[in-house]
């Protein structure tokens, strides 16, 4: 029986010719990632397991992106512990204020992850790297500790659900709308324990930015990973950036799928996920009177240059509504610099938006944009659980950068095509 890309990557890293869904394998990881929230909790298990040094100083990656620059004394202490570990272990790929970006935007940009890789990260959105034809999945701190020490991690080989994307995206519809639509259809546990593999003729028109957004939210459907096949778009993005040799795997013709779901992108309109689960997906047209107090554009889901270009195009020459707070978080320093040189930051700020250094802060209700009781945000982030961005009685609506920017101008959920663009 044939194998899927995910199964082939797992087999390859386990020294096996083939694996099938349900097998348990012990695999070598190419990258083990942690951040300032998950690393401190990994220190004790690392030490308890006899950890004196990491298995590879280049392959254990630490990004201090969640509560950094420190939000309070407790987080400052966690950051200090993380810095001490990175120094003691001599980590080559350690990113702190100044170099730091949001991890899942930073690692692809720096070429630390690429085609055929097996990546684990103590952060649930590690699945983002599937956009680059890698098998990447989130784990907890203890799994990270074990992998950092031994270079290995155990996996149950997942079944695969195939999503066949056809058709052409309408204006202002992007990767975020595609993944929200999918989660709306299958639910927050629709792909539980499974691999979500994306296929179909529409991939030829999906940028790496769109693919990263889509793979990023595979976890919101419960998936183990989300993965795209390697093609010329992957090749173009990774060439000259990813330093290790590409390992290209293709899904066999006779590979078995748990389910095959077809999606015609031509039918897709801008959508949002209403509180309190990412599966509560509605077309913007159905909820456009819903008012917002805050708009957040950024995060590992939608903080890339392509996202900022879309936001700036809508905001340019317009004005953020009076009672609305727009906060924009370019995901990495390189993205920020690019946005400055393209004039995007100026467009956003002249429209009344605030622009911040990279941080995961507001997405998880950490800092830099916490909501009060009764407040509602529209956000390009990935979760809208109860209390996700602050008070348990606040609300988060998830959307694309285009819908978020349009909503900032009007103060309620808005279809970008209803905004008059100023050139």
């Amino acid at each position: 029986m044939g194998m899927t890309i995910s199964q082939k990557i797992l087999a390859n890293h386990s020294g096996l010719d083939s694996v099938k869904a349900g097998d348990l394998v012990q695999a070598n990881v190419d990258i083990a990632l942690a951040n300032d929230i998950t690393l401190p909790l990994a220190l004790k298990p690392f030490e308890d397991a006899g950890g004196k040094r990491v298995f590879d100083r280049e392959k254990v990656v630490v990004v201090l992106d969640h509560f950094n620059p420190a939000k309070d004394i407790d987080s400052a202490s966690m950051l200090a512990k993380s810095r001490a570990f990175a120094k003691e272990m001599g980590l080559v790929n350690f990113f702190d204020v100044g170099d730091m970006g949001i991890e899942h935007a930073l690692l692809p940009e720096k070429g630390l992850v690429g085609p055929g890789d097996l990546v684990i990260g103590a952060d649930s959105h590690t699945c983002t790297y599937g956009a680059l034809a890698a098998f990447a999945t989130g784990v907890g701190s203890t799994d990270f500790a074990a992998a950092a020490l031994t270079g290995k991690c155990w996996f149950k080989v997942p079944e695969t659900m195939k999503f066949v994307l056809n058709g052409t995206l309408q204006p202002w519809v992007s990767g975020k709308d595609i993944i929200l639509e999918i989660i709306g259809r299958i639910g927050v546990d629709g792909a539980l324990y499974k691999s979500m593999e994306f296929a179909g003729e529409a991939l030829a028109a999906l940028t790496i930015a769109d693919r990263l957004t889509i793979a990023n939210m595979a976890i919101e459907a419960g998936a183990k990973n989300g993965i795209f096949p390697f093609d010329h778009i992957t090749n173009e993005y990774c060439s000259g950036r990813f330093k290790r040799p590409f390992k290209i795997f293709e899904t066999d013709e006779d590979a078995e799928f748990a389910e095959v779901i077809q999606l015609n992108l031509s039918d897709l309109e801008p959508v949002v996920a209403m509180p309190f689960l990412p599966e509560n997906v509605r077309p913007v047209s159905e909820v456009k009177e819903v008012r917002v107090d805050q708009v957040v554009i950024g995060s590992c889901t939608n903080g890339r240059i392509e996202d900022l270009r879309i936001a700036a195009r809508i905001l340019k020459g317009n004005r953020v509504a009076k009672a609305v707070r727009l906060i924009v978080f370019p995901a990495t320093p390189a993205i920020m610099l690019q946005a400055i040189s393209e004039g995007l930051i100026q467009d956003i700020m002249e429209a009344g938006g605030a622009v911040s250094t990279p941080t995961c802060g507001p997405c998880l209700g950490g800092h830099m944009g916490i909501l009060a009781k009764g407040e509602r945000a529209i956000s390009t982030t990935n979760r809208n659980f109860v209390g996700r961005m602050g008070h348990p009685e606040s609300e988060v609506v998830l959307s694309s950068p285009a819908v978020a920017a349009a909503s900032a101008i009007t103060g309620h959920i808005t279809n970008p095509s209803d905004i008059k663009l100023v050139q």
């Binding site: 348990l24 308890d48 701190s141 500790a145 149950k156 209700g365 659980f385 348990p392």
Partner: protein, 165 residues
């Protein structure tokens, strides 16, 4: 090994933000995290849960973030085990890795009510509801997970199976 405890019932898709909100992620101490366990699902919960109590929930328990603070907070509160009709995958791994007992049983999840007193026989894989008299089977776990549990978590398993570097 059997034990008995009082049940606190929760619904489907309980996420890790509800189990331990991000505003407490600057802590790693189990007792400190336990003071806020399940706070955003039920603000009164940390005040009323007692050592040895049991959580029973619906499908997809522990969905969302990979934060191990979630099983740490539950264990820190002295909760003996979590029974659900199903678990989100990262939470599932984390629970086994750090030694929180979790049991899958759709039937138990459906029928057990808040306040019931139940007995869990881990070895036999049986849950007995002393309040209603009903008995439920636990979905068996893969042999490898069983090995992890009997070794006392991933760290002990690694120490046992590989020589430390």
């Amino acid at each position: 090994m059997a034990f008995r405890g009082k049940v606190w019932k929760f619904g489907d898709d309980v996420n890790t933000d509800e189990i331990i909100p991000a505003r407490y992620l600057s802590f790693t101490d189990p007792e400190k995290l336990a003071e806020h366990v399940m706070e955003d699902a039920d603000p009164s919960f940390p005040g009323k849960v007692s050592k040895g109590d049991i959580l029973v929930a619906g499908k997809n328990f522990g969905c969302g973030s990979s934060r191990e603070h979630a099983p740490v907070a539950i264990k820190g509160a002295g909760i003996a085990c979590v029974i659900a009709s199903g678990f989100a995958r990262i939470f599932y791994r984390n629970a086994f890795n750090m030694g929180l007992l979790i049991l899958e049983s759709p039937e138990a999840s459906d029928k057990i009510r808040e306040g019931d007193v139940i007995e869990v026989d881990q070895k036999l894989g049986i849950i007995h509801n002393t309040t209603s008299g009903e008995t439920f089977q636990v979905t068996p776990i893969p042999a490898f997970m069983d090995e992890l549990l009997s070794d006392g978590g991933l760290v002990e398993h690694i120490k046992k199976s590989a020589s430390p570097r």
